[in-house]
């Protein structure tokens, strides 16, 4: 391994193919302390990249360094896994388990063998995600949002140095999303990487945003820099302008446009979503093809 760095995560020219599909196609990036959001349409390579950082998938080519260790070696993987919290995109559940039993089981896999200390930690993480009242309910009786929070809770076990979360806010209602933001912010000097489709999550939560598509990094910077991509290029009007690159009707009945504004149009401040849409070249809903 030639990569040596003070960064928490280093990705160097990493490739991962599945048959003829290039899921990750030459990604380079470094992560430091703080919360980074990974944006991208479905099939962009987010999950594959997160799986490689979570050590459950090996790259075909390229170099990785996670928390100072090399995931290509079994000793390195063990070292990383002891300091990692991971929420897969679709974590399964043992249907007969209660929320408590489920998180307790993951705690066992995380080598927490002392029962009392483990149970205290399970209670802590379930309380942190707001599930203290339902921890004795069977998982099958919980709503989708609650199950998602059970998944987040297991990732928080042991207060990991690196948290890798694949679409953690999917299925959460606005209040739960707010609570989730507080939870991540309270982690302080730790590294969190989360993937999302929600540009407002990125705007509210992340110090940094990485947009990927077709397995390549398209944008890497602060959320306001992503919004700035669309500066002076977003305008609203009562009628749809056919020359705009993108146009959609907003809740207030106005048509929001992205592109080259005609003279005299009402320029509005861009949002992270505007910048992201401009980057994608089309609305998220249209790019969601897989």
């Amino acid at each position: 391994m030639t990569v040596t760095s003070a960064h928490q995560v280093v990705v160097r020219d990493v490739h991962k193919h599945f048959g003829s599909t290039r899921a990750v196609d030459g990604v380079d990036l470094e992560l430091d302390l703080g919360i980074t959001g990974l944006l991208g349409p479905n099939g962009a390579g987010k999950t594959t990249l997160l799986r490689m950082l979570a050590t459950v998938l090996a790259p075909d080519r390229g170099e990785l360094r996670v928390l100072g260790s090399d995931p290509a070696t079994s000793a390195g993987r063990l070292e990383i896994r002891r300091r990692l919290g991971y929420l897969p995109q679709e974590p399964g559940y043992y249907k007969g388990f209660t929320a408590f039993a489920f998180v307790d089981y993951v705690a066992i896999l995380k080598e927490m063998s002392e029962r009392r200390a483990r149970h205290d930690e399970v209670r802590r993480v379930l309380t942190a995600v707001g599930l203290s009242d339902v921890m004795q309910k069977p998982i099958r009786a919980l709503s989708g949002g609650m199950r998602r929070r059970v998944g987040i809770a297991q990732a928080l076990l042991g207060d990991p140095d690196l948290l890798v979360l694949d679409e953690p806010t999917a299925g959460l209602d606005p209040e739960q999303r707010l609570r989730f933001r507080e939870l991540l912010t309270a982690r302080g000097d730790r590294t969190t990487l989360l993937s999302t489709h929600q540009t407002d999550d990125v705007a509210a939560l992340c110090q940094r945003v990485i947009a990927i598509n077709h397995g390549c990094v398209q944008f890497d910077g602060a959320p306001h820099d992503l919004a700035d991509l669309a500066r002076d290029r977003v305008w609203t009007a009562t009628e749809r302008d056919v020359h705009a690159e993108l146009a959609w009707v907003t809740g207030d009945g106005l048509v929001r446009h992205i592109g080259e504004p005609p003279v005299g149009s009402t320029i509005v401040p861009p949002t992270v979503e505007d910048g992201y849409l401009l980057l994608q070249g089309q609305p998220v809903g249209v790019t969601d093809v897989t």
Partner: protein, 287 residues
């Protein structure tokens, strides 16, 4: 109105836990009905003197722990009883698929045991043919995304994947063995002849499991075995063919072959053990 009140010295001794049990019971009875003494006690007692700092928290934690503690399944309790650690017992009993396999394997093994003990026609080759398939259920249901809903979470956890695999495989294997071994004692001359083929088939499934999902690997290995015995009988030139096949597959030469196959397969498992550590060969890895 209560005409009698506890004296201050007595209350003080009670607050510090230095009264005898009879006096304490008497004071408590009185306190239940006397608000004035309760108030005096509250003023007298410095709660930190009465109960060591943290004791109440510790007591509450103890209660919470008893309430929250996950319910132990029957399988877990049995494993616990025979000395398996709490963690290992939970890992073994966690997946519903594994529990089903266990019950299935035990049922088949038990049926064979009854058949071997009381059956009227003891043709050993039927037993020897099917017995190795029983512990294979352990390999089939030990690992992989289609068996274990928590497969990906488990992979990212520090507990080695190979340990989970070994624990679950051996749990079914040992149980099946415990039932099959006594049953096979009823087969004169061939009592232990099925054990090496069983180990070889399981080892082969594990070796195949480094390139495909465990359930499919077990199906392939089991299928090969199930076909091998009748094929041998079919193609055997010596007469009687069943006896010739029996001697060839389960006799000394056959046993040496199964030992060799087990050794080779386990070497493959050892050399390729890192494959169990990744999703790489699992379906659904692409996304």
């Amino acid at each position: 109105m209560n005409p009698w009140h506890a004296d201050t010295a007595l209350l003080d001794r009670y607050a510090h836990g230095s009264t005898d049990l009879a006096s304490a019971a008497s004071i408590e009875e009185h306190l239940l009905s006397c608000a004035e003494c309760r108030e005096r006690l509250a003023n007298t007692a410095d709660i930190d003197h009465v109960l060591p700092v943290g004791l109440i928290d510790a007591m509450w934690n103890e209660i919470a722990d008893v309430v929250d503690r996950p319910h132990e399944t029957l399988v877990e309790r049995i494993l616990h009883r025979v000395g398996v650690s709490e963690s290992a017992a939970r890992i073994v009993s966690a997946t519903p698929a594994l529990r089903l396999a266990w019950i299935g394997a035990v049922a088949i093994a038990a049926a064979f045991a009854v058949w071997a003990a009381y059956g009227s026609t003891h043709d050993p080759i039927v037993f020897l043919w099917f017995a190795p398939v029983v512990p294979l259920a352990g390999v089939a249901t030990a690992f992989g995304p289609s068996i274990d809903p928590l497969h990906e979470v488990a992979l990212a956890a520090p507990l080695p994947a190979t340990r989970i695999l070994a624990l679950r495989t051996s749990a079914v294997g040992v149980t099946a063995g415990l039932i099959l071994i006594p049953a096979s004692l009823a087969l004169p001359g061939f009592a232990a002849a099925w054990i090496m083929p069983a180990l070889a088939v399981c080892a082969l499934a594990l070796a195949l499991g480094t390139t495909m999902e465990a359930a499919r690997a077990a199906l392939v290995a089991g299928g090969l075995w199930v076909l091998a015995v009748p094929s041998w009988i079919w193609f055997s030139t010596a007469e009687p063919r069943r006896l010739a096949a029996q001697l060839a597959l389960f006799g000394p030469t056959g046993q040496i072959f199964w030992v060799a196959l087990t050794a080779i397969a386990l070497s493959v498992v050892y050399l390729r053990r890192e494959q169990f550590d990744f999703l790489a060969h699992q379906p659904g890895a692409a996304s």
